[in-house]
Structures are given as structure tokens and as C-alpha cells.
């Protein structure tokens, strides 16, 4: 008999942010929207009563996960043949990001400067900046980027699968990384930001708009203390502080002599 555990055992704020297309019926009801909700409820009703429907939902969910995994496969063959820079560049461009070789312009996957053959010219040229914003990079995919030992700027804005575990791997780029942007990543919390202290050469860090950070103002202060030579852009330290109406009147009152 399947016991129904208490629903009040909410284990996390729903920050599961799967792509909208495939996950209509699978994502938990973060924002119930009319028809989607009704379809989801019917499927849930059936899944509660029939093993086949439950297995089907399981299968669809696993398929979604494996899609992300497939996108993040390591380019081992290319790496062996052409070196880590070409492998890293191919990976980032395939995901939809942009790459900047030393002394060159930004190369985007959709722009007209990109062609596979042209990339081969840069076999020995190190990559100095990677823009992987909005890409589906995850913990495994980061392998390709961590092999770029001369990387100076890394932009990971709004990446849905970059989380605290990925941040713990960034220490491998400590010797060269100078600019890092994590703005808008839904899964990064202050616990992951704590392991950025390895990046001693970091000069600019963007941690604005991180929904999973519980206390943005305090986190900003603590991160600034942790990385004294770095300019930390993000929340204002007064964000989240509320000044009550009494405080203002106290400021204007004159202090009584003791």
C-alpha cells in the first residue's frame, strides 16, 4: 500500500527550471496555468492508479535528464587530436555560446565568422574568454572549459544547470581567471559562492539576481570580505533591510544628556 507522506514536507523552494517545451506535465506546479495544470492533474490522477502511466512518466523524465547529459558529453576525440582549445571551443559553440581566442574577435555559433575549418587555424592559440550564457552546461560539461588553462573571463549568466557543485570545480582555473559572471543562475546559492575563495586572481565577479541565495545583501558583504582584491557586482548591501517608521523620528530627536 503506498503511504501518503505529509505534503507539508516541502524540501526545497521549487527552483526546478526545466525547459518549457518538454516538461509541461512533469514540472512541479511552480506557476499553475490553467490548461497546463488541468493536464498535469489528469496525468497525476492516472499515474496514481496505473503502474503503466507511472512508468511512462518516469521514462519521460529520464529522457529529459539524458538529453542534458548528451549535450554535455566530453569531446575526448577532438581533444586528443586537436588539443584542448579546439575541443573547448567546439563544445561551447555547439551549446550555443561564444568563444574568444587570444588576439581575435568573439566567435559565435550563429555569427558569420564561424566555420569548423576556420577553427582549426587556432589550434595553438589559447582561449581567453568564454561566454556560455543561457547554455545547458552542467557539472560534466564543465570538463571542457576547465581544460582551458589560460581562460581569463567566464560568463555563465542564466545557465539553468550550473549549481554549487559546478562552482566547487572552478578552483582549477584559479591561476588565470580574472572575470566571472554568474548573474541569473537559478541554482547557485551562497554555499557555492563560498568556494570561490580559491580564485585569488579574480578582479570582477557578478553575482546579481541569484534567486536561490537566501540573503543577497549579507552574501554580498561576506563575498567582498572573502575576495578583497575583487570588485563584486551584485545586490546592494542594504537590499532586504527594512527601515521602520520609528527609526526616522529617532534620528531627528536630539540625544538626551547623560
Amino acid at each position: 500500500m503506498r503511504g501518503k507522506y505529509p505534503r507539508c514536507l516541502r524540501l526545497v523552494a521549487p527552483i526546478w527550471n526545466l525547459s518549457a517545451s518538454g516538461s509541461r506535465c512533469l514540472s512541479s506546479a511552480v506557476t499553475p496555468e490553467g490548461n497546463q495544470r488541468k493536464g498535469g492533474m489528469l496525468l497525476q490522477f492516472l499515474a496514481d492508479r496505473f503502474y503503466d502511466v507511472e512508468a511512462l512518466r518516469d521514462y519521460l523524465f529520464q529522457k529529459q535528464l539524458s538529453k542534458v547529459h548528451k549535450k554535455n558529453r566530453s569531446f575526448v576525440g577532438i581533444k586528443k587530436r586537436y588539443g584542448p582549445y579546439i575541443a573547448g571551443a567546439s563544445f561551447v559553440l555547439k551549446q550555443g555560446g561564444a568563444v574568444k581566442f587570444q588576439g581575435q574577435e568573439w566567435i559565435r555559433a550563429t555569427g558569420h565568422g564561424y566555420s569548423r575549418l576556420k577553427l582549426l587555424n587556432f589550434q595553438a592559440v589559447p582561449i581567453e574568454a568564454v561566454d556560455a550564457s543561457d547554455c545547458a552546461i552542467n557539472y560534466e560539461g564543465l570538463d571542457n572549459i576547465l581544460a582551458l588553462k589560460e581562460l581569463q573571463s567566464l560568463f555563465l549568466q542564466r545557465c539553468p544547470h550550473v549549481d554549487d557543485w559546478c562552482l566547487s570545480r572552478l578552483h582549477q582555473l584559479a591561476s588565470s581567471l580574472q572575470e566571472l559572471s554568474l548573474a541569473g543562475c537559478p541554482r547557485i546559492s551562497e554555499r557555492g559562492l563560498a568556494c570561490l575563495h580559491h580564485l585569488q586572481n579574480l578582479r570582477r565577479l557578478d553575482i546579481s539576481d541569484l534567486p536561490a541565495v537566501s540573503n543577497p545583501g549579507l552574501t554580498q558583504i561576506l563575498v567582498e570580505e572573502m575576495l578583497p582584491k575583487c570588485e563584486v557586482v551584485g545586490a546592494e548591501w542594504a537590499q532586504g533591510l527594512k527601515s521602520g517608521p520609528e527609526e526616522q523620528s529617532q534620528d531627528t530627536a536630539s540625544p538626551l544628556p547623560t
Binding site: 503506498r2 526545497v12 498535469g40 557555492g192 563560498a194 540573503n215 570580505e225
Partner: protein
Amino acid sequence: MFRGAVWLLAGRGSLGRGLSTRSGGWTPDWTEKVSEIKKKIQSALPGGAWHPLYDTSHLPPEHSDVVIVGGGVLGLSVAYWLKRLEKPRGAIKVLVVDRDHTYSQASTGLSVGGIRQQFSLPENIQLSLFSVDFLRNINEYLAVVNDPPLDVQFNPSGYLFLASEKGAAIMENNVKVQRQEGAKVCLMSPEQLRNKFPWINTDGVALASYGLEGEGWFDPWCLLQGLRRKVQSLGVLFSQGEVTRFITSSSHMQTTSGKGVTMKRIHEVHVKMDHSLEYQPVECAIVINAAGAWSGQVAELAGIGKGPPDTLEGTKLPVEPRKRYVYLWHCPEGPGLETPFVADTSGAYFRREGLGHNYLGGCSPTEEEEPDPGNLEVDHDFFQDKVWPPLAHRVPAFQCLKVRSAWAGYYDYNTFDQNGVVGPHPLVSNMYFATGFSGHGLQQAPAVGRAVAEMVLEGQFRTIDLSSFLFSRFYLGEKVEERNII
């Protein structure tokens, strides 16, 4: 159809009550009687707990293939992997028995929640490596359809072990083994320590090892609830009750050298209900002892250890509860966000908790100072005498702090060699152990669960070879010592 009839009855019951007030003179608790009848009929329907005389829905089932004694993180991990590795799906009926569904004394919930790969035994390192992988992909392993994803709140801040002159050579050796197994650990000299963590006083420290990846701390309660939820969705049954007796049968056999030996098999487990003398005999094929700090008592119920000393029959399971204190304090000038889990040369440890300059810490007492494990009362003098002085020496900022709260929990302490016991008992052939991890059970639970499930289903370890953790080492006297114990 039956249900429809019952609901109609209930409806008519309330209607009948309406009628009765009009006509007057009816028994006032008619609706209660109706609900009792409803309950009886429902228990008689297929799928209900059927017993002709009384309702047995609160009792565990009468038959179960595997009974897991102990519903903490190790027991649930074994249940999860049994359900995951079984072929075909749904083949094995698993029952988890725990005497306290609130987990008030269970080691899992009271744990500090650290996970590290810095051990000296390769097996321990492999177990932790897999467990960290499990935690990282917890939403793939423990996904339940239409439930929110789990957030174990992992802090990837690493462990920092400090060694004095005496321990420096051992630490270097350990780090070599850890690197061989694939852990990312680096060694630091006192100078590098001071550069990286300026709040440390490196007086007396000769070497430090710092875990760079895959080490830190997390929320053990979340892992427990996640496992519980997933395991329930896979069809594992839970029962709240205490195991009071095993019904066994013995057969006398002879070894090849002619020595007589008594092999036992457990046939039934008696599960006693709370606050009552009622018990249910559960007929089972396999029993898994994951009772944590009380595993020694459960093993004695099966007759393990009852025999002349220095024989296999007389070898007890050397797991007993040991009380450990954890203190939470606030220090406004304390170390910053980058603080790892620091384990000092003296054995005292601490870690950060949250954003607000709160720290958790404690110390393992020496053998002579072991507190009485009869209750979970906290001794605050222990903090003043044994925990604060070494920590204040190591981190001068801790000279001014204020203790906010404290609690105590049990280690399932293996008095033989402080390492886990895994696998079947040589004589009681259907009791498997998953216990005795002496303080690092939580961080190895996913991997140990998988190893025990492999042992049960296939008869041998497939992924991680834990043959050095079998029970027979207690009889043979082969200690498998772990030198990095906190």
C-alpha cells in the same frame, strides 16, 4: 459496489439521525457505529488488512522477503538499492522496521552532516567518492514523479585536516592513497595555510591536507526524507515497532576438518508495537541489521555472541552506542565564508553554519572520558574543558564566543577497529550487517547500501569490494584500522 453500499449506509446514517430527531428515542452515536462497520468492511475488501476478528492495519505484514531492522539512513539506503537492483521489478517485498518514526534518537538526524574523502583506507575513500556522486545526482536517483526536487544544501567547502610533527608522515601517506583513488586533496605547509586562511594560528601544525572538491557538509535530514519518500514510492513497507525476538532454527554441521559447527537461520521476526504487548511475527527470508547504535542488542537477539569465548559462536558484534556532543556557538569576529570543516591536531573540530557567523563543533573524548550513553543529556562542562581551549588556541578569534545551543547524538561505535561491518554473518547465514561506522556512516550510506544490496541479491560485492569489512574479521582478529577518525 461494496464501497458504494457503505457510503450509502453512511449517508443514510446521517439521514437516519435527522429522522431520529424527528421521531425521537434513537442511540446518539449511530454515525460512529457506521464508521466502525465501514472500517471493518474496508479491511475485509481485497488489499486491506484482513483478519476475521479485529483490525490489523497498524501491524506489519505477516510475510516479507527482507526485513530491515532500523529505518535510519543506512537502512533506507539498503532498501532503496534492493528495490533498484532487483530483477524483475517488484520481485522483492521489503519491510523497514523502526521503533521511533520521529527519529528522535537516531544518529542520522543528529549528525553534523560532513562528507569527506580524506580517509586512510582505500575502501573508505571509494565509498565516500560514490556517495558524493550520489548526493550530486540525488535528483536523478531519488526523483519521485510530481514531487519537488531535493536540495541537500551541500556546502562544497572542503575539509582541512591539521597534523602535528608526529602525524605528518602518516598524513602524507594518506594523501597519496587518497589521490590514487581519485580524491582531489592538496597538502599545505604552515606558510601556505597562513596565506590562505589568515585566521589560523599555525603553532604546532607541521602539515595540513585540504580537500578541494567533493568534500563539505550537507543536510542529513533532507537525505533521509528523500530516501524515505522514494523508497515508499517504490513499494517498501514501513512499520513502527521494536524487534524483540528472532525465531531461528539450527542445524549442526561438520566442517571438512571434522569440527562441529552450528548454522542458524532466522525464520521469523517478532515486531512489538509501541505501548502495548501486541506483537506481529513476520516471516522473512533475510534480515538486515541496520539498527545503528543498538545493532549489538539486535545481534544478541539472534544469538550472535552466545557461546564459549574465543569461538565463532562466542564472537559478539562489537558495536555499542557512544555519546558525542555537538555545540553551536556564535562568534562575531570568526572566520569568514571560506571556512572549511577544520579538524585540529587535538581532535577538536568545527565548521561554519549558515551566513551569520555561527559555528558548529565538538571533540571526540578519550576512552577514559567516555560519557554514559544511557541518555542524550548534554554536558556543557565538556565544552569548557575539552573543546573550547584547543579551538581557541587554533583560531584566536574564538577566544570570545557565546554558545547558543548544544545537542548529543550516538555514534554506532565499533569498539574493535572503528570501521563498518558489512555483509552476512558466517553462522547466522541470513542476517546481513550494515552498521558500526563509528561516525562516518551518514557519508558512506549510499555506497554501503548498494554494497549490501549486491551482497544480498548476487552473493558478492560487485562495485566496491568490502570483503575486509566482513564480520569474520572479529573472530580472526584482523583489524582494519582507519587512522583519520574525527
